[in-house]
Symmetry: C2
Subunit: 232 residues, 2 copies
């Protein structure tokens, strides 16, 4: 069962590369729907919005799956990336916090095209419990442990208010969920070995504002010590 295959894959794929693989995968799947059989790094890079050298180096971490003079076979590459990302197996996801965002997530069909199954929806609000959302009955948060165990949940999504997020995270960790996607605007504290990724809308807006302001500032530099409001 446990294959120590003769071709032990280099398990040291750079984090930056991992973050881009899903983008390549999506571009490749779009190509697949258009019946494209092969594609060059140049063209795929353009579709993914990256530099072609970067794309080639990224793919080289998975192995040598291209053909010089031709390009990459789309279908084969889709399979290889999917496998590397762990999408050839199914992942059960539980979403906690069925507010506006939680509902949006639950209804978001194309979760990774496939590979992810939303197995449980949980909320603390008694009036929410029992309602049907995206074809699933919302359960009470008190049953989190049960829901995780019964459904083999391995990924937890937190879409609660900031105040409850840490508590929910603790519960997740407690029952063995080691992958958490956090939408609440707080920094979660988790033990080593637990993987947390955060998606933060207001942070993204603030970063945009920073660049927008910089553009507006004529194009200058000068941040430094400006203790009040002066400027022009």
């Amino acid at each position: 069962m446990i294959s120590r295959p003769p071709r032990p894959r280099d398990r040291g794929i750079p984090e930056a590369t991992v973050a881009r693989l899903p983008v390549y995968l999506r571009a490749l799947q779009a190509l697949q729907e258009r019946r494209t059989l092969t594609i060059s790094s140049e063209a795929l890079a353009a579709a993914a919005g990256v530099n072609s050298a970067k794309l080639r180096k990224d793919l080289s971490h998975l192995g040598s799956y291209g053909t010089r003079g031709v390009g990459y076979e789309v279908e084969y590459l889709v399979y290889q990336i999917s496998r590397e990302l762990g999408l050839t197996q199914d992942w059960s996801v539980a979403i906690v916090g069925i507010g506006n965002l939680g509902r949006a997530l639950a209804n978001y069909g194309g979760f990774g095209t496939r590979g992810f199954r939303i197995a449980a929806l949980l909320d603390a609000d008694p009036t929410m419990v029992g309602q049907s959302v995206a074809g699933l009955k919302v359960g009470h948060i008190d049953r989190l442990e049960e829901a995780v165990r019964d459904n083999g949940v391995s990924i937890g999504v937190i879409a609660t208010p900031a105040g409850s997020a840490q508590h929910v995270a603790n519960r997740f960790v407690e029952v063995g969920v080691a992958s958490i996607l956090n939408f609440a605007p707080v920094v979660l504290n988790v033990p080593e070995g637990v993987d947390v990724r955060k998606v933060d809308l207001s942070i993204e807006l603030q970063i945009l504002a920073f660049h927008a302001q910089r553009r507006a500032d004529g194009d200058g530099r000068e941040p430094a010590d400006r203790t009040g409001l002066e400027l022009t």
Copy 2:
């Protein structure tokens, strides 16, 4: 021996730093509510989930706002970071695509605590137009240009299906919106000078899956590639 002349031009705060400033800001605002007057880099770093040296270096890019032996004055730092991020001015935001996600965004009150004002909601679906969401009337996408001009919108949020995203982006760019936050699962093509940030739920899940798979492959142990090869 021939070293290139030093570039004292400290133009620009590192991108990595910019991305963390909002996190610091949020932590500081929480402290402010607890009436904390000053805080050390050590404590603030813990609250923000980063290394204290990194935090000090980040803050040093804004200027010398700390007091040795004491720490940072919370209120002053809040102001400085806000100013650097451009939050001391107001930004008008338009959201296009009032589906589940668009509604969630419109209702998400704490948009950056302040500084961001949702000025317009637009959708292509005629049955959606005219409805009231989060206290705003949904307008038809055809009026995008009008809505942007009338409200001084400078940030556009795209929450449409993938197929419409590029089209909406083009329209935004056309009317001079140079900051776009994209939730649609596509790579947007925009001219130079336009700033696009993307938030992609399924990509985040795929990255989590990658790490989860790695954990599982290894055998009960953890990644453990922290201690790479020592000297040889």
